[in-house]
Structure formats: structure tokens, C-alpha cells
């Protein structure tokens, strides 16, 4: 129960950060993130290549307030990691350096950072509103195709993995529905359908 309250606070904090920085909509760009970093007191952002599992790290010491990101990632995971590290800056800066791996989502502060990042990029209430609007009502179960369509319509920079996780957490779909989904392929099909409609 205590953790649920903590994650609720992380969502609230993300919404505050959005308001404080004039962020609207579901499309948070790297430029937006850097602007937020400057406003929130992160002094340096370093991209470093050569990591396998490490996704990002946050430092606040006598060398300054710095976020290090694994280089070479596509924009969406980079934006998500920037948002994730921002939570460490705002909430965990007293605990010393924080090192974040791709598969480390078990510790409370890491789950909190994931919740914060998702909410910062695409608030849950907007997600639910957009989803219900897209489906014209309460869906029986949300399919991967629906999430592809939602992403196309909202142009959100929140990843498919994060959208799917949120859908499951909101009990709008079973976890099995998103197992082994080939998102890029589905996205390609959706784009083709959309193009053929627009050419008619």
C-alpha cells in the first residue's frame, strides 16, 4: 500500500513538472526534455557509447549535476531514459549516484522512475481519454492494433512497451495480449492502411 501511494506521488510530480514547463499533449521531444533539464537544474548531459545493459545514470556531486545516457539508442528510449533520470534528480538526489539498467525495474525507486517517466511523456488520464475516444466507448479488451492506432493518432513519444504495460496495469487487456508483439510490423501495416484510405 505504501508503494502505491509512492507511485501515485510520482505521477502527481510528473504532472506538476509538465505544468511548470508548459508541456501539453503526448509528444515530448528531446528538445523539450533538454529544456526541462535546464529549468530543473541538470547541468550536463553526456551521451556515452559502449554500454550493453546500462541505460542511464544520474550524478549529483562535486563534479556537478549530470545525467549520462547510453548513446546510439533511438529517440523514444532516449526520451524515456531522460525522463526516468529526471525523477532521480527531483526525488533521489540525496541517495548518491543512481545507475539504471535496461532490465532493472524491480527496486522501488526504479519503478517510481518508470511511472514518473510514463506520466511525464503521456499522462495516464490523457491516455485513457484518447483510448476511449478512439474506440468510442469502453473497450472489451485493447489489442496491439488499437495501441498502434492510438500511437499514430496521438503521435506520442511513449514507447509501445510502455503503452502496453500501462494498458495491462489499467486492466484494459491481459498481459498475454502483448507478448511477442512485433510492433514495427504492425505499425507498418497500419501506415499502409492509412495511406490507402487517404489515396481513395
Amino acid at each position: 500500500m505504501r508503494d502505491t501511494g509512492y507511485y501515485y506521488e510520482m505521477r502527481e510530480l510528473a504532472l506538476e513538472v509538465r505544468v511548470r514547463n508548459g508541456i501539453e499533449g503526448a509528444n515530448l521531444s528531446m528538445r523539450d526534455m533538454w529544456r526541462i533539464y535546464c529549468e530543473e537544474g541538470i547541468e550536463k548531459l553526456d551521451f556515452r557509447h559502449g554500454f550493453k545493459d546500462l541505460r542511464g545514470a544520474y550524478f549529483n556531486d562535486d563534479c556537478g549535476v549530470t545525467v549520462m545516457l547510453a548513446g546510439g539508442l533511438p529517440d523514444e528510449p532516449t526520451i524515456f531514459t531522460m525522463a526516468h533520470e529526471l525523477k532521480h534528480h527531483l526525488v533521489d538526489s540525496e541517495t548518491g549516484p543512481v545507475v539504471c539498467r535496461t532490465n532493472e525495474q524491480t527496486r522501488r525507486i526504479e519503478i517510481g522512475a518508470e511511472v514518473f517517466a510514463s506520466e511525464l511523456i503521456y499522462p495516464e488520464k490523457d491516455f485513457v481519454y484518447d483510448l476511449f475516444r478512439l474506440l468510442r466507448g469502453i473497450p472489451q479488451a485493447v489489442s496491439p492494433e488499437v495501441l498502434v492506432e492510438l500511437k499514430r493518432k496521438t503521435n506520442t513519444t511513449l514507447s509501445y512497451a510502455a503503452l502496453a504495460k500501462r494498458t495491462v496495469l489499467l486492466r484494459l487487456a491481459d498481459e498475454k495480449a502483448f507478448r511477442d508483439v512485433r510492433w514495427k510490423s504492425l505499425q507498418g501495416n497500419s501506415n499502409n492502411r492509412s495511406n490507402s484510405h487517404s489515396h481513395r
Partner: protein, 125 residues
């Protein structure tokens, strides 16, 4: 001796002792780092100040730590304790990531030393 001169001297030492003492020419080093042929010479004499990113490339090339270019007392005092503390937080990482993280932690410390002091200020002997 200025910090830039000290760094230049260390570049020369590492270059001339490279490859089990056989050394490597300035030209060969310049080629390996993809810099102009006279740049290495100018680094070594302290005429040019290498950037922190140049120093990282040099450290990787020579198989050294970036902090090895700096005067001992400037960077080594608390270095090991702080970097060890960081690496303890990352003990679940694979070996390659730990090594890259250590390099990054040292890069941050080197950058702080390198940028906080104007190039012309004398380093302690």
C-alpha cells in the same frame, strides 16, 4: 609547469613508452587518432591544449586511465573512494558496462579538474 604542459609531458611519456617501450611516432599516433600530423607535437609541447575528449581518446589508445594525464595530487586524493562507491552501486552490471562506467566516472572527474582551472595556471610540482 602549467597543467597543459603537464598533460603534454604525460602524452609524450605514454607515446614514447607505448608498445612495451618501443614507442610510436607522433605521425602514427596522429593517424590513429585522426588528428593533424603536427597536433600531437603541439600537445606534447603544451602549445595546444587537448580537449577532454582528446584525452579520453588518448587514454583508450594507450590503455591508460584519463586521470593518469593529470598531476597525482589533483585527481587521485579521493578518486578511488568515490569511484569505488559508484561501482558498488552498479555491482549487478556486466563487466563491460562496469568498465565503461568506471571510465565515465573518471572522465567526469578529469573534466572537472581540466575545466575548473585556467590553462595557464601553474600545477604543483
Amino acid at each position: 609547469m602549467t597543467l597543459t604542459e603537464h598533460v603534454g609531458q604525460r602524452i609524450r611519456e605514454f607515446r614514447t613508452s607505448y608498445g612495451s617501450g618501443a614507442g610510436i611516432s607522433q605521425q602514427a599516433l596522429a593517424d590513429a587518432l585522426k588528428v593533424a600530423s603536427n597536433t600531437v607535437s603541439r600537445w606534447e609541447t603544451g602549445t595546444y591544449r587537448p580537449t577532454i575528449d582528446d584525452l579520453e581518446k588518448l587514454a583508450r589508445f594507450f590503455g591508460k586511465r584519463i586521470l593518469d594525464f593529470f598531476p597525482e595530487e589533483e585527481v587521485h586524493t579521493e578518486r578511488d573512494a568515490k569511484i569505488d562507491a559508484l561501482l558498488r552501486t552498479a555491482k549487478q552490471l556486466n563487466d563491460e558496462d562496469v568498465e565503461e562506467l568506471r571510465r565515465y566516472a573518471e572522465y567526469r572527474r578529469a573534466r572537472q579538474v581540466y575545466t575548473k582551472r585556467p590553462p595557464g595556471r601553474k600545477a604543483k610540482k
